[in-house]
Symmetry: C2
Subunit: 500 residues, 2 copies
Amino acid sequence: MEEPSYAGYKNSMQQVADFRYSAAVLQWDQETYMPVKGEEARARQIATLSEVAHERFTDPALGTLLKALSGNTGLTAGERRNVLLSQEDYERERKLSPDFVRRLSETVSKAYQCWISARKANDFQVLAPVLEQLIQLKREEADLKGYSQHPYDALLNDYEKGATVKWMDGLFDRFVPSLKKLLDQIATAPQVDSTFLQGEFPKQDQWNWGMAVLGKMGLDFEGARQDLSEHPFTTNFSAGDVRITTRISESDFGYMTWSCIHEGGHALYEQGLPAAEYGLPLGEACSLSIHESQSRLWENNVGRSLPFWEGQWPLLLQYFPEQFKGISPRDFYKGINKVTPSLIRTEADELTYHFHIIIRYELEKSLLDKTLFAKDIPAYWNEAYKKYLNVTVPDDRHGCLQDVHWSHGSFGYFPTYTLGSLYAAQLFKACSRDIPGLENRIIQGDSTSLLTWLREKIHRHGRFYTSEELCRQASGSPLDPELFLDYARVKYGHIYGLSL
Amino acid sequence: MEEPSYAGYKNSMQQVADFRYSAAVLQWDQETYMPVKGEEARARQIATLSEVAHERFTDPALGTLLKALSGNTGLTAGERRNVLLSQEDYERERKLSPDFVRRLSETVSKAYQCWISARKANDFQVLAPVLEQLIQLKREEADLKGYSQHPYDALLNDYEKGATVKWMDGLFDRFVPSLKKLLDQIATAPQVDSTFLQGEFPKQDQWNWGMAVLGKMGLDFEGARQDLSEHPFTTNFSAGDVRITTRISESDFGYMTWSCIHEGGHALYEQGLPAAEYGLPLGEACSLSIHESQSRLWENNVGRSLPFWEGQWPLLLQYFPEQFKGISPRDFYKGINKVTPSLIRTEADELTYHFHIIIRYELEKSLLDKTLFAKDIPAYWNEAYKKYLNVTVPDDRHGCLQDVHWSHGSFGYFPTYTLGSLYAAQLFKACSRDIPGLENRIIQGDSTSLLTWLREKIHRHGRFYTSEELCRQASGSPLDPELFLDYARVKYGHIYGLSL
C-alpha cells in the first residue's frame, strides 16, 4: 500500500481550488460584465463547477488520505494544521449530497438574477418565490449539517466557527443596549454638517480618486483590479489575483469612497495570504469576521479618522478642489461621521450600522425556524426598521431588496459584519499600542507601518489560528464589545462635544 | 440494462460544455482584465478545466452510450447527426491522454504569457524555448491523432475536416499564381490615396463608432459585449453570451474599424447558432473556415464595399466630421482598398493578405516535419517576407511576434483564413443572387436582409452540414477559388482603372 502522501493531499486540494476559483471567476464576470442573455447558461456552468468541486472534495479517497495523514508525525506544524482543517471541512461537506449542492447553486444563480429584476421593478415579490425555494434549501442544509439547538446555528457556524444563536444573542445583549444609550445621547447634541458630501462628483474623477486611495492603502495593482458592479464585493482567484468592485453616485461623495476603502481592506487581506498555500486552508482567510475586521478597520478606524483625512487632504483637493473648497479636514471628519438612523445598511454610519445587522439577524433566525416566510419579509422588515431605527421604509429597493446576500444564499453572514467591527476596534487599538506614533504616520499619509502590522499579525497566518486565537495573540485579550464602545464614546464624544 | 438515452447523452455533453465554456471565460478574462500576477494560478485553473472536460468527454461510458445510440432509429435527423458527430469527436479525442491534455494546456498558458513578454521586449527568443516545447507537443499530438502522409495533416484536419497538406498545396497552386498576376497588374497602375486614414482619431470616439457599427450590423448587445485586448478575438460561452475584443490606435482609423467589423461577423455567427443545442454539435459552428467566411464577408465583401460606405457615410461623419472632411465615399472606398505589400497580417489588404497566410502555412509545415525549429523562425520569417512580399522586416514585433496563434497552440489554423475568404466571396455572390437589390439595401444602411440570409443558409445549421455541403447548398457549387479571383478582378479593376 502506498504511503499516505502530503503531496497527494496538496494536489487534490489544489485541483478542488481550481474548480472553486474558476466558479468565482464566472461569478465575478456575471456581476461585472456578463450580458443579460448569458444568465441561463452561466447558472448551469457555475453549478457544474460547484458540483465537481464538491464531488472531488468529498471523494472518500480524500477522506481516507486525510485520516492516514492525520497520524503522520513527520509533518510540519503548518502541514498538520492544513490536514486537520481539511478534515473538518471534509466532514462538514460530506453531509451535503452532490445533488443538493447542484440544486443550491442553480437556485442561487436564479435568485441573483431575480434580485436584479426585483430591484429594477422595485418589488420584492419578484424575488420572493425563488428566495423561498432558496430558504427551503438552507433549512435542508441546516438539517443535513446538524445543530443542537437552533437550525440557524448550523449556518452561523459556516461563517464563524462555533457561533450559535445563543452566543450571538448573548453578544447582542451585551452590546446593543449600550449602543442604544450612546445613540440617544448623540441625538440630544447639536447635529454636525455633512451637506458638502452631496454635490456634483463626476464619475471619472471619483473613479480616479478611488484608485488613488486604494494605491495609498498599499493595494498592489499588479495582483488586483477594481471594476463596477451593482453591489460592491471582493473576490479572489489566487493570492495574486484579487478583484474588488465598487459603484458610483455622481451626487454623493460617500457612496463610492468608503465602499472603495472597505473592499480595499478585504483585498489587502487576500493579497497578504501566503501564496504558496494555494488551495490549502493556510492559504485562506481565518474567518469571515476576521475578513470583515480588515475591511472595517480600513473603512472606519482608519478611513473615518481625522489623521487619515489630514494625511489625504492634498490628494482629495487634487480631485475635488471646488467641491471641498472652504471645508477643513476637521469639518470633513465631523461630517463623514454624522450619526443618523437611515434606510440603507451600506451607507449607514458606524454606530447605527449595527441595528441594520440585528434586524437581519433576527429576520434570518425566523426564516430558519419557519416563523417567517419569504413573502412576509417586506412587512417584517418595514416594521423592524420602524422599531429599531424609527425610519419609514418607502419601498422595497430602500428596504428588503437592498442587499445581495440572500440571493447569494448567504444566511448567517450578516452577523459577521458586527463581529468584524468589534474585532477591528480591538485590533486597531492593539496596533496603536504596538506602533509608536501610528497616528502621526497616518497624518503623514503613510499607511505602510499599519499594513505591515496587519500582514504580520493577521494576514500571513491564513487559517492557522481561529478568530479568537488571532485576536488574543494580536491584542492580548479575547473579543470584548466594550472596546468598540470605548472607541465609539471617545470618537463621538469628540465629534458631538459630549462627555460620554 | 437501461435503454440508451438521448437525454443522458445530451446531459453528459452539456456538462462537458460547461467545463469548456468555463475555461473560455477564464481565457477571455486572462486576455482582457486579469492582473499580471494572476498568471500562474490561471494557467493551472484552465488546465484543470481542460483536463476534466477531456476526462468526461473521453469517458468510455459515453463511448458505449454513443455506440448504442447510433443504432437508435427513433431519433430525429438532428439527433442522429449530433450522435454521429459526437462519436467522431470522441474517437479523435480518445487518442489524447488526460496527461497530454494537461501538459498542452499548461504550456499554452505559459506560451501566451511569454508571447506578451516577448512582444514587450521585441524579442522572439523570449518566446522561442516555450514555443519549442509547444511545437514538440503538437508533433506528439499529430502522432497520437495519426495521419497518412504529413504530420501537419493531423492538425489541419482539426480546423478543417478532411484538409491535408496535399489538398492545401493544390489549392494554393491554383490560387496563388493568379493572385500574384493580379497584384503585378495593380502595381503598374497609379496608386490610390489612403493618407486620410492616418490622423487623429480619439480613443473614445473610435470606441463609440465601433459599437455603433456593430449595432448597425445587427449584433445583439443583450447577448454580446466588446472589450479591449492585445489581439482581437471572438469567443462565446453560450449562444446568449458572445464576446469580441478589439484594439485601438489613435493615429490609424483602420486599425480598429475593420477588426471590429471582422470580429462582429464572427459574433453574428455565434449569435445565430441554435441556443437549444447548447453543448451539442448542432450548437457549434460548422468549421473554422465557415466561421472565417462570416467574418471576412462582413469585413471585406460588405465592410470594404462602396455601397456599405455610402450607407454608413452620415454615421461616419457624425463621429469623425473633421477627419473625413472633403473626402467622398468613393475616395474613401478606394483608399481603404489600397493594395500594398506590408508587414502585418491583420492590417493587410484583402489581396496581399493571402501571402501572409501562405508564409505561415509553409512555416508550420516545416515546424511539424522538423525541418525547422522555434529558434529559427525569425530568420525564416524575414526571408519569406522578402521573397513573397518584397518587404524588409525591421524587428520581431513587426514580424514573427505579431500573431497570438502559435502561443495559443493553434497550428493549422492560418489556412482557414484563406479558405474563409474564398467561401466568403462565393457566399456573398450567392446572397446577391438571392436577394434582389441587396446592394441598394446596403446603400440604405440596411443589413437585415443579408443577416437574415446568413442566418437561414449558414448560422442555424450549426455543424449539421460540412463546409462543402453548406457551400454547395447556399451557392449551388463546391468551393471554387476562381470566384474570389473574379470578385477581386472586378473590384480592383474598378478601383485601379484596369481591365483585369
